[in-house]
Symmetry: C2
């Protein structure tokens, strides 16, 4: 029996899907808090019940492996239940009121009531690297559903069968909890045309995208070129620089370098917060550093890339880098392998500063060690950086004077700063933020991971003078 | 002595201005809460002290008249003081924390701390119709200054001298409170090139614009076409439809029609929330209605337009409408006048539905009465509406069944719904919202009026593992 295939949605189908989402928007948005919470809990329950078959399919479609997929699945279930609670408690409405003042002069003041409302149908275009957590039932979808937005998900062509199974679970929950059919749809699409049609459709009110800088930029343009532009949220490329200050490296270099390489190679570097650059001073770049780096790379097992496309792309971008940069450490693996070879490059800061192409993310286990002759040059590198999701600082007590100069500069460029730590390694909580200035995301004021993700999908509406209103709103 | 003139800022001057703003961003953003509050209070105090000369100048540059300008000035002073309190209390930071869990398995959890931070240098391009409240020291500027963003204001060419005087007051406050020079600048610009250069400058982090749909759209494109796009907030055109249901018009038509015409003619219709359309059923459109409308128009004094440009533009747009629509009531004023003639047009709903150009805002005291043959046609008009800042419903007890169908539809299209009331007539408070779906604004999730205006200018940053950090952040 052949693998099931999912033909691209036609323009007609996309139009019907968005019209269906739009036509149920008011009905779905007016569902009671506990009804939407029930819907979300059923999705979580269904996922829990069918997790084995979902994981099995995801394992066939990606190379992420059982352990990682199990972890991702349980994280996804937890996340859906968090959004069920959000839907139930309705704190997201942030209601504020002003009492009427009928005797105010020169004119009476009517009662004012403001609350957040769902923005309308949301299109979700998920990532290749998280087939469960940033996919059909990820934060984008479930946060939008929680606040009353119908959702249309575009399946990822590299794990379309997983998407299909996940959509079945949502559709089942939809029926069980008596939600309107239009509140959730999945469409398939290998071609860019499907995404373009979804983003440009007049009924789409907001888009959440996770993927490459190239893809994000192209769709951002589509969203802005609409007759009625809409918010387009993309989480795209991020260099995630790590600044290693000299005393820290002197005192605990071995440990830090090992942790750096672990972070570079986590899930074969296929993480949006993989550290793409380590910036150090020339004085730190000695034989011990080099040996430490090499040891760490060699002790790190090479891991499989998500699929052959991703591997091919990684080989291309990292070998392009190798044309002009020295490789100072790399994995010893066989050729013709599906695994991503760790590749650590070296460049002098003065060269890095004149070559903007080095600031682009290489999706995979590659990273560049950037060597600054002195601290002012390290600062110049920091100043030249584009926006990132994260930046890290490796600091000892004696580094603090320099750290205090570097810190506010990095703060102005990223969404998360790590002190003596490496991304990611942290579960999303109330105090995390997964967003950053362009090109990390299209809007640094929002997060695509964690409970605050729903803020993309709400807008305030004020009702004035509704005190005499019963049975209408 | 001739009127002072203000030549357009050169590209070099704009570059220096933005570099100056950017270079002080970190210093200004790290000022203590009470220091920024003091800065803002000094601006308010200076404005209070010099309000006579400011109002006198604004009176010469616009036709708004003393009473309106006095009211606007005191509202502006109050607003600045509100933002001083915001700066002082720092609630806008919305700090959230997660404690470290050093013994967590498989890996320890670091401390997480999240707070809102200023987004960076903000460019403010103010409106023609509020030379004080939506201008140099309006909500855009003072809310951005309150949260630590340096601000560059482009003066409005029709009241450039007023802008210059207001900027002097801010600069004086800047010196008195020892703020960095770069935290506030005014540049002049008659040509679109100045705005384009400000919006496209790489150091600009966010833009707040109030003006025409045409101008807003053009600059929105500029902001999105930057190598690093930025949030561009524009408050543009809005039709602000009023839906008059039949029992309401039957029971209190006279009073409602009179209030409608008052709202159309408030400040000669030069308000972003002027009702541009009144939608009624054919059964309501009888002789009594027509007479009532005519009486209201005739008893309303025609008011001066802001300046000759605005008058000319109003004459053009409203006379274009008169080419194809019947005028059912208009003011009886002399020709060659600077005053805006109230013009009330009439169209059948079925014609309105096929003519998208009728949905555009006419800036001035013009409005269209749209006549629907039945309620379903009224609904079709509501469905066809673009986004607006406001919509109003005129409703009696017996209209409630229809109102309850109309209400959620209008809710999905606007930022504020008024029940038996007309915009504006309400002071901005915590429960108001001045924003709406495109083309009313570029992002319906934000407001440009009221205390929440600062939300455009902040973004969350998470600090991870900073518990051992002293003297750095």
């Amino acid at each position: 029996m052949g693998k099931p295939t999912f033909p691209d949605a036609t323009l007609e189908c996309i139009d019907q899907t968005l019209e269906s989402a739009y036509s149920c928007f008011i009905e779905y948005s007016k569902k009671k808090a506990n009804q939407r919470a029930d819907f979300l809990r059923r999705i979580a329950d269904n996922l829990e019940k069918h997790c084995n078959s979902i994981i099995e399919t995801a394992e066939q479609e990606t190379s992420l492996g059982l352990v990682r997929l199990e972890g991702e699945c349980s994280r996804t279930i937890d996340q859906i239940r968090l959004f069920a609670t959000l839907a139930e408690k309705e704190k997201w409405k942030e209601i504020s009121t002003e009492a009427a003042e009928p005797n105010r002069t020169p004119i009476p003041k009517p009662e004012m009531y403001k609350a957040n409302h769902p923005i309308g149908p949301v299109v979700v275009i998920g990532a290749c690297n998280f087939p469960l957590a940033i996919s059909v039932v990820g934060t984008d979808t479930t946060s939008a559903l929680a606040v009353g937005c119908p959702v249309v998900v575009k399946s990822h062509p590299r794990h379309a069968q997983t998407c299909e199974l996940l959509a079945d679970l949502v559709n089942q929950a939809k029926r069980e909890s008596n939600m309107p059919d239009g509140c959730f749809h999945l469409v398939h699409g290998e071609s860019h045309g499907v995404s373009t049609a979804l983003v440009s459709h007049p009924r789409t009110a907001c888009v959440a995208f996770t993927g490459s800088l190239q893809g994000g930029k192209a769709l951002y343009k589509v969203a802005n070129a609409r007759p009625s532009p809409i918010p387009f949220h993309a989480e795209m490329g991020s260099l995630n620089p790590v600044f290693g200050l000299p005393f820290a490296l002197k005192e605990k270099g071995d440990k830090l370098i090992s942790a750096y390489i672990d972070a570079v190679n986590l899930f074969a570097g296929q993480m949006c917060t993989k550290p793409g650059a380590l910036i150090i001073l020339e004085e730190s770049f000695d034989e011990i550093f080099e040996q430490s780096l090499l040891d760490s790379v060699l002790k790190n097992e090479s891991l499989p890339m998500l699929n052959s496309d991703v591997l091919q792309n990684y080989e291309k971008t990292s070998l392009d880098l190798a044309q002009s940069l020295e490789i100072i450490a790399q994995s010893e693996i066989q050729s013709n392998n599906t695994k991503g070879k760790i590749r650590i490059f070296k460049t002098m800061a003065k060269d890095f500063l004149t070559r903007p192409e080095l600031k682009a993310e290489a999706f995979g286990p590659a990273s560049i060690v950037i060597i600054a002759r002195e601290f002012t040059e390290m600062l110049a590198v920091a100043k030249s950086m584009e926006g990132s999701l994260t930046a890290s600082m490796l600091v000892s007590e004696n580094d603090k004077p320099e750290a205090s100069v570097l810190f506010p500069l990095l703060e102005s460029k990223v969404g998360r700063i790590l002190w003596n730590g490496f991304p990611p390694g942290v579960m999303p909580g109330i105090a995390t933020h997964h967003g950053g200035p362009w090109p990390a995301t299209t809007d640094s004021r929002y997060t695509s991971i964690g409970i605050q993700g729903y803020k993309r999908f709400i807008r305030p509406i004020c009702k004035q003078g509704f005190s005499d209103l019963s049975g209408v709103s």
